[in-house]
């Protein structure tokens, strides 16, 4: 198992290096544009060349990549070309904000989706229709609209929660909870819509299988059948959907972050891409690939725990 984890992490590192190198190649073609953008409308070819030289952007791309890599291995991801702030801590701070809305949203998504999916599959009838209706509603209502609606109701009208901004957990736990509540609710509703349908479908399949019938004839309670057997078997595909949901939330966090003015990873990545902030783009790419690798690995390990047949020998 340890060698499997080491191998997967090693693959992740190679993948990160490759992705960052490709990013480097793509960005390498636009350094002059970025230098001009930094200098503004008064930029001249001379001042542009001077800035490129000062930043080291006039060197060959492989040399720049190597230098970046050597520094990155030592934890130095460079500085933003616009703000001069170190990229590593900035990305980590931004990621912490985004994860602090995504992780609670995912946990709530799992709890609600499993409850709804199991209830719907085991009860059928009206329960099934209600669960499907809720799931469909989650699909149909756009997240952005929902976000704005909740802000207007809970922040602007009732003034229960803040409309914008983020309070770090360490500064003020209650303030933190208040600042993430609406974003988490919005993300959870979208996640539940996806996952409930998956859990419901898999549970219906499992509950129709022969082993369930056998367990019932032996007098095993319905609760035990669902919790100990059917849900465990239905869990693997749901887990895969959940990991995809995480990656989707990470990518789609931009919209939520913009509406709530959260200083998160999505808006940081978006602005860096717009401005062509090269060190930030590279740092975000490296952190992003690392995160996705870890999430995929965790999903595989969780799958192995749920389903012995999926375990790595």
């Amino acid at each position: 198992m340890i060698s499997y984890i080491a191998k997967r992490l090693g693959t992740g590192i190679v993948l990160a290096l490759l992705v960052v190198f490709i990013t480097f190649l793509l960005i390498g073609t636009m350094v002059e544009d970025v230098a001009r953008t930094i200098l503004g409308q008064s930029a001249t070819p001379e001042t542009t060349a001077a800035l490129m030289a000062a930043k080291g952007w006039d060197r060959p791309v492989p040399v720049q990549y190597w230098d970046w890599l050597v520094a990155a291995v030592q934890g130095d991801f460079g500085q933003s070309v616009y703000t001069s702030l170190p990229v590593g801590p900035a990305v980590a701070d931004r990621l912490a904000v985004t994860l602090s809305i995504i992780v609670p949203a995912l946990l709530l998504t799992v709890v609600i989706s499993v409850c709804l999916g199991v209830w719907s599959a085991s009860r059928g009838g009206a329960a099934d229709r209600i669960a499907q209706g809720l799931s469909l509603t989650g699909y149909v209502v756009p997240g952005l609209l929902l976000a704005i609606g909740l802000v207007v109701l809970l922040a602007v009208q009732l003034k229960w929660l803040p409309a914008t901004g983020y309070t770090p957990l360490a500064d003020d736990p209650v303030g933190w909870l208040r600042s993430i509540t609406i974003p988490v609710v919005v993300l959870t509703i979208g996640g539940v819509a996806n996952l409930t349908a998956q859990v419901r479908g898999r549970m219906i399949d499992e509950l129709r299988k022969d082993y369930v019938r056998t367990l019932r004839t032996r007098g095993v309670s319905s609760t035990a059948i669902i919790v100990k057997h059917a849900l465990r078997n239905a869990g693997s595909p749901a887990l895969t959907v959940l990991s995809l949901e995480f990656i989707q939330m990470l990518g789609g966090a931009l919209i939520i972050e913009n509406v709530f003015a959260l200083p998160g990873y999505g808006s940081y990545a978006f602005n860096a891409a717009l401005q062509g902030d090269i060190p930030v783009i590279l740092g975000i790419t490296a952190f992003g690939v690392a995160l996705v690798t870890v999430v995929n690995l965790a999903t595989d390990l969780a799958n192995g725990w749920l389903n012995p047949k999926a375990r790595v020998q």
Binding site: R36, G40, S84, A90, V156, A163, A261, L274
Partner: protein, 511 residues
Amino acid sequence: MPTTSHRRGAAAIASAAVLSSLLAACGGQDSSDGSGATELALAAFSGPNSLDPAQLVDGQQMFVWSSILDTLLARDYETGELIPNAAESWEYNEDGTELTLHLRDDMTFSDGDPVDAVAVAATMERNRTTAGIVQVKYGAVQSITAVDEHTVTVAFTHNDPQFLPNLALSTGAIGDPDTLDDERTATDPIGSGPYTLDTANTVPGTTYVLKKREDYWNADAYDFEKVTVRVLQDPTASLNALQAGEINAATVQAQVSGQLDQNRFALQQIDAQATAYLDILDRGGEQWPALGDVRVRQAINYAIDREGILDSIMAGVGMATTQIYSPYGEVYDESLNDAYPYDPDKGRALVEEAGYEGTVFTIPSTFLSTSYESVLSQAFEDIGLGLEWEAVPPQQAQSAHLSGDYPLSFQVTGFNSPEADSVSHFGASGYSNPRGYTDATVDALFEQINSTVDLEEALPSYRELNAYAVEQAFEAPIVFTGGLWATADGISLTTTGASTISTVRLFDVES
């Protein structure tokens, strides 16, 4: 042993406790929209890229950096005139190759050190020699000398009419010479401005908290003890924050301004902050001969329904225009706006007369142009020409404009000063004129402008240049884009548009 129901009860109590603490916290929220406010919390589209004097960006980034770093000159918000600030007076020599600045003698940095000529000269010299956005504005500067404790002279290779007005912007920011080269300068510099950065409560890129310096030489001119600048790029977030009382000043979109409670917020419209225009890049017709023909350029001006664009795209916030100079300035000529009434038939006739009907131009499609593209395409079709928009990513928009690959470009440019705006739009090295097109008349007018040190004396030349540029249709100005400021009760705007430099003095406490 607790029973299940007890555990549920305990959970319910815990939930209720969390909920009540959440709601209690709501009551304790620091609202900043009360009357008589001494706190200003405003929304800005962008925080400062850097607080290093050599890397300062003007525009809304000034809200933060101009609070920390004092500038040599300032603008009067009521008249738009250049006024003394850290420099209490100034004068040029006869041919404009030497500027003498006389500094106030009562200024200090936030660490208590005096602000003197050495500090100003050191900052200027560093700006002149440090690669960055401010350096290009020092292009004509030859040397900077601290003559005595409170006098600085700046020597130029030639008269640079843009330099003086730029001293009210980033070019004139003063840094602390002892720490200028320290790492902290970019993020937490020692400055001599009216505020200091409260680093404990500032989150770079998101929220900047500024505390007033009572020892600032002009402290009485700043009404707010504390200023918070929130970076809110999304207009919906701005509106929500305003309505929720989290900020008390922000620009809002005209379309949604009706949602604001009129008893709590005052709306003030500024009609002109920038010019939206179709830039004719190949004015000499080197690569696209059609654009070298003044009839085609004029036809483009006739084809644009400026009032229609103002109403439909700008929701009426702005002004239709055929010229690029600020309507609050002295170069602007109201009568020139009659030069090109909306008349596509006349435009088509001019294109046909010139023999260029059916010509199609490729133009960069950027984040600035998207709202205007369909209406401009229609305008070109109406006069027998065509436009093909080619998508260009934001970081390449400037390069595309300057590349020589496009005959036209859509731009939105903020006002600076008559000097800077003239060079930028019509000068041989101007951003809006990347092919450096000039003719004998333009050359002669610039010669007069550049040899006249006093702006008042140069005004007739500027006005003539304006009229000539409109007649020659070097560009196709469309509208002055405006802005709608919403301020909470107790806070008012100090300008009607004469100067829109983004400093805290744009606001004051309503008396």
